[in-house]
């Protein structure tokens, strides 16, 4: 249980700058997710925290202690790897016991043959195996202890890897895409288990993933990384509802946000040749509309965007309408409707091959030409008052 503070971390591999001046304060017991597309530097950042890579500049403190010069094992962190990195020649029990053996046995007691001379070793090993048993029971893998990793399923290996991390009671858990080798159903299940584990252990979790759903569902806060920088740091809700930049808006959210180039006319936003009921902000160049910010309306309603319906997806509780706007670029947009709203709209005859989509002004995001989000004066004042 420890806060992790990163200050001005810079890292290059050869001439490629992988991390450009990353500063991040991770709270004690927080579940923070580093998310971003591959190559954004999130894994490198995690490996630097673990001590597996050395930063070129900047410093790291874990629990208030500078760890820059410490070896990985001395930093009080445990790591779970994407490949699980289990020792194939050791049983599950020995895999989990390994960190404890390294901690509690002396160097001589770990050497072959020489270890037989130590009368203490037996007792220590018994204690270690008792601790291993406790952790295994907590993860419900106690029946697997004598097996070798090759005899386990992906999900079971995942638990063993977690067990090996948990057994030393680290201050922080570092997880490098631990779920990406699991099948979809198991991944959803493990998401819940990890969140529950975090709650139970109360330790700091730093979780790396490229999957925005994992980031959104488990974390207290998400750091979205792009191109070696933290593009935005905030709660999952903040990243979704108030993305700082167009890039954040495009990365977070499924289906992806629709982006329309806009101009201003008489104080209103014009997109795809339609004058919207949305006040233009100075410098507005892009309009981002999430699937739930659009609703079908009657033909010719002022401020509605004409579109062609491409296909409808029934997800049970909700529908996704995939359409293209009537502009030259045929911009693809998605409209999300609850099952009831969909039934009503269909009954009203709003869902023909041509349909009109009304943007919800309160949920629309405007961005300037450089991709920065524009905030109305009133809202900004409110935000600043809170901050």
């Amino acid at each position: 249980m420890a806060a992790i503070t990163l200050e001005g971390i810079v890292k290059s591999f050869g001439s490629t700058e992988v991390l450009r001046d990353i500063s991040l304060a991770i709270g004690h017991g927080e579940f923070i997710t580093l998310v971003g597309p591959s190559g954004c530097g999130k894994s490198t950042l995690l490996r630097i925290i673990a001590g597996l890579e050395r930063q070129d500049r900047g410093s790291i403190a874990i629990g208030g202690r500078r760890v820059d010069a410490l070896k990985p094992a001395e930093r009080g962190v445990a790591m779970v790897f994407q490949s699980y990195a289990l020792y194939p020649h050791m049983s599950v029990a020995r895999n989990i016991a390994n960190p404890l053996e390294m901690q509690r046995l002396t160097f001589a007691e770990r050497l072959p043959l020489l270890r037989l001379l130590s009368p203490r070793r037996r007792r220590v090993m018994r204690e270690i195996m008792r601790d291993v048993g406790t952790v295994a029971a907590a993860l419900q893998i106690d029946h697997l202890l004598p097996r070798k990793p090759a005899q386990l399923s992906g999900g079971q290996r995942q638990r063993v890897a977690l067990g090996r991390a948990m057994v030393r009671r680290p201050d922080a858990f570092l997880m490098d895409e631990p779920l990406s080798n699991l099948d979809a159903r198991l991944r959803v299940h493990m998401r819940g288990e990890l969140a529950e584990l975090h709650r139970r252990l109360g330790a700091t979790f730093v979780f790396v993933t490229h999957d925005q759903t994992e980031a959104m569902t488990m974390s207290d806060r998400v750091a979205l990384m792009l191109d070696g920088r933290i593009e935005q740091l905030g709660t999952p809700a903040a990243l979704y509802d108030t993305p700082d930049t167009l890039a954040v808006a495009q990365f977070i959210g499924s289906p992806p946000i629709a982006v329309l180039p806009v101009t201003a006319e008489g104080g209103l936003v014009v997109a795809a040749g339609t004058r919207l009921r949305l006040s233009a902000l100075a410098g507005a160049a892009m309009l981002g509309l999430r699937a739930e910010a659009l609703a079908p309306v009657r033909k010719g309603t002022p401020g509605a965007l004409p579109a062609m319906l491409a296909r409808s997806e029934n997800l049970g509780a909700e529908w996704l309408l995939h359409a293209t706007l009537g502009d030259a670029a045929a911009t693809p947009v998605v409209c999300r409707l609850t099952a009831e709203a969909h039934a009503t709209a269909r009954a009203d005859g709003l869902l023909g091959e041509r349909l009109w989509l009304m943007p919800d002004a309160s949920r629309a995001h405007l961005f300037d030409a450089s991709g920065r989000r524009l905030v109305p004066e009133a809202q900004r004042a409110a935000v600043e008052a809170v901050a």
Binding site: R47, A50, G51, L52, K71, P72, A73, V77, A78, M79, F81, S83, A85, L86, Y87, P88, H89, M90, N98, P99, M102, Q103, F107, R110, L111, P112, K148, P149, A150, R164
Partner: protein, 300 residues
């Protein structure tokens, strides 16, 4: 129902096609390996001599003679002694060289070439070079032994030194090859495991080697051990060029004894019996090693 019939109908031609595809390889295997061994086995039961007009069937007399033959018995003992030095030396030094070279980035290929050079050279030519190097009067090694206060050392003509000296040359020739095999084994170890070990606290060189490297090199070590012992069993070139089994039979080895019987004395029947014994040794040795190691090095 209908698919079962269709399957039955297609099985016959499929089987024939399979046999047809396997036939050329099977034929070659038969002609190149099985037939010669059969001929060898038959010869070993006769008193055939090269160019002899009449040949008699002797039964197992050749084998009885071999087991009683002091020269042959000595050559067995010498060969085992030679293997006992070359096997640990060749495997151990090959592994050591691989571990040292593996982490080099820019100089790795340079070291690979240097260590591999002896493998590519002709051992007979190199044996002549070693003869010069080890010559007690003219060789450069003389300076070293003199400097160490050992005086003149007759590496190849002292009966107690000749086998270790030949073994040293054998190791020198093998190390590069074994190093390449170990390097391949080392690069197959996932980097994640070393990183997991570093986080577990096993980041030091000894712990890392004992907990990750050595166990995961198991299959490679097994392969290297078997090929090294077969190579060592087959020692011949250096003996033929440097010592001819001398001094006083101190470097008589199996293949050299077979060579003398077969190609110097032309007692083909007897030489065939010795060859069969030699093959049996290699077979038993390899199978024993494979059986002993296989269960411990494959974790699948």
């Amino acid at each position: 129902m209908s698919t079962a019939i269709a399957l039955a109908a297609t099985r016959e031609p499929l089987l024939r096609a399979g046999h047809a595809f396997a036939a050329p390889a099977a034929l070659l295997l038969f002609l190149i390996y099985i037939v010669p061994v059969g001929v060898l086995a038959w010869l070993s039961l006769t008193d055939y001599e090269l160019g002899a007009v009449r040949t008699e069937f002797l039964g197992l007399a050749n084998f009885e003679r071999a087991l009683a033959d002091p020269v042959f018995r000595r050559s067995i003992v010498n060969t085992f002694a030679y293997v006992a030095i070359v096997l640990p030396g060749g495997v151990g030094l090959g592994l050591l060289a691989a571990l040292l070279v593996h982490r080099r980035i820019r100089t790795r290929s340079l070291y690979e070439v240097i260590y591999f050079l002896p493998v590519t050279s002709t051992l007979i030519a190199m044996a002549t070079v070693w003869q010069f190097l080890l010559h007690p009067r003219l060789g450069p090694v003389r300076e070293i032994t003199l400097g160490l206060g050992l005086g003149e050392v007759a590496f190849l003509s002292d009966p107690t030194l000749v086998l270790p000296s030949l073994a040293a040359i054998g190791i020198w020739q093998l190390v590069g090859f074994n190093m390449i095999l170990f390097l391949a084994g080392l690069s197959a170890i996932p980097r994640d495991l070393y990183e997991a070990a570093a986080l577990d606290g096993a980041g030091g060189p000894v712990d890392r080697f004992l907990r990750v490297t050595w166990p995961l090199l198991g299959p490679t070590t097994m392969f290297v051990t078997i090929t090294t012992s077969i190579t060592a069993f087959k020692v011949f070139d250096t003996v033929a060029v440097l010592t001819q089994g001398g001094p006083t039979g101190a470097s008589e080895v199996l293949l050299y004894a077979i060579y003398l019987e077969g190609f110097q004395y032309f007692r083909i029947g007897y030489a065939a019996a010795l060859t069969l014994i030699f093959l049996a040794f290699i077979l038993v040795f390899s199978v024993m090693q494979a059986a002993a190691l296989d269960r411990r090095v494959h974790y699948g």
